[in-house]
């Protein structure tokens, strides 16, 4: 922004704190006590009075000038609504109730499973054979049981 533009902009800035309150006063945006004080200022100061009148006039002019908006037919609104539905989310929004219970449920289930796993690690029987351990007795060992004296030889069939 060049110096001229800056100077020009400063022309539109409030010259005092009181001046900056004239707009909020006419807009009804000031608290009661402050509004009374500014009202007295406006009554006593002609410059402020003119400013307040001009601000009110400006608002009225703008409201009148911008009041006319072309009508949109119900057919056009219908088309807009159709387009909104087409462009909208592909899937319907998930009911919130589902989101409310599924996350805690999965979290609790995961915690329980983790607890069971850790429990088995810490409190399980260390002497118990692991599933990967070879059986104490091998299949081949049992295929033929050597008979005691006076007994017939027996073959154990593992095939079936």
């Amino acid at each position: 922004m060049n110096a001229d533009a800056k100077n020009q902009d400063s022309d539109f800035a409030p010259q005092s704190n009181d001046e900056s309150l004239i707009g909020p006063f006419i807009d009804g945006e000031l608290p009661m006590g402050e509004a009374r004080r500014v009202e007295t200022l406006i009554e006593e100061n002609e410059e402020y009075r003119t400013l307040a009148e001009n601000f009110k006039k400006l608002d009225d002019l703008a409201r009148t000038s911008f009041s006319e908006v072309p009508k949109v037919s119900s057919t056009q609104w219908g088309q807009v609504w159709e387009n909104i539905q087409k462009e909208g989310p592909q899937k319907q929004p998930q009911p919130k109730r589902f989101n409310e219970w599924i996350v805690p449920f999965i979290s609790i289930a995961a915690l329980v499973l983790l607890g069971l796993y850790l429990g088995s690690l810490f409190f399980g029987d260390p002497e118990a054979p692991k599933s990967e351990d070879p059986p104490m007795v091998q299949k081949d060992d049992l295929e033929e049981v050597i008979p005691e004296e006076g007994e017939e030889s027996t073959t154990v069939d593992f095939s079936g």
């Binding site: 902009d9 022309d11 539109f12 800035a13 409030p14 900056s20 707009g23 909020p24 807009d27 945006e29 001009n54 601000f55 006039k57 400006l58 608002d59 002019l61 703008a62 409201r63 009148t64 000038s65 911008f66 009041s67 006319e68 908006v69 072309p70 949109v72 056009q76 609104w77 807009v80 609504w81 387009n83 909104i84 462009e87 909208g88 989310p89 319907q92 929004p93 998930q94 009911p95 919130k96 109730r97």
Partner: protein, 194 residues
């Protein structure tokens, strides 16, 4: 927290929509479509363009309603989308060389705008002339000043609502409004309207 019955009704519809009832959004669309179209029209100054912006606003709201914080007002949230989309639309239109705004060679830009707006041939000439000057003056404001001024003077929103929509402090709303009024006052004094 929203205490106004209309705001409460909006929040109820938002909750229903988030719980899977899509017809609730149609209720919100029917309730606010005219107002959003008016806001958009005041920025983009063309009926069809304003309709396009309105459609975009509701699509964004439809897709992003989960992001809406229910401790604020629904219409303030919707207005914010409308103002931002309107400003984006104007910028994109400026960036598009094929779509041109009417030139000032055949008369003031505002005259074209006024012609588009006021279709009735019997409209009072003096009033039309005043409107042209006001539109021209408002168009001279920057986007941020124009947004605050229009939301205040035309939409008649409170400073707090404007601050929520524009995303600035109350002090900024006050200073932008003061600046806009002073600038408009200067312009309209030159044309003899003030």
């Amino acid at each position: 927290m929203a205490k106004d019955p209309s705001d409460q009704e909006d929040l109820q519809k938002v909750r229903e929509f988030l719980n899977g009832d899509t017809s609730s959004f149609e209720f919100l669309f029917d309730k606010y479509r005219e107002r959003i179209h008016s806001v958009a029209f005041r920025f983009v100054k063309d009926k069809e363009d304003a309709l396009e912006v309105t459609q975009e606003v509701f699509i964004r709201a439809y897709q992003g309603l989960e992001k809406f914080k229910t401790d604020s007002k629904f219409f303030t949230w919707l207005y914010r989308i409308a103002v931002n989309r309107s400003i984006d639309f104007i910028r994109s239109r400026k960036a598009r060389p094929t779509v041109e705004m009417p030139h000032t060679e055949d008369g003031p830009l505002s005259a074209h705008i006024a012609d588009q707006r006021i279709e009735e041939p019997s409209v009072n000439t003096e009033r039309k002339e005043i409107s042209e000057h006001v539109l021209e003056a408002v168009n001279m404001l920057s986007e941020k000043h124009r947004a605050v001024f229009l939301l205040h003077a035309v939409e008649q929103l409170s400073y707090k609502e404007i601050a929520d929509i524009v995303g600035c402090s109350l002090g900024t709303v006050m200073s932008r409004l003061f600046y806009s009024r002073k600038k408009l006052q200067q312009h309209l004094e030159q044309t003899g309207l003030l």
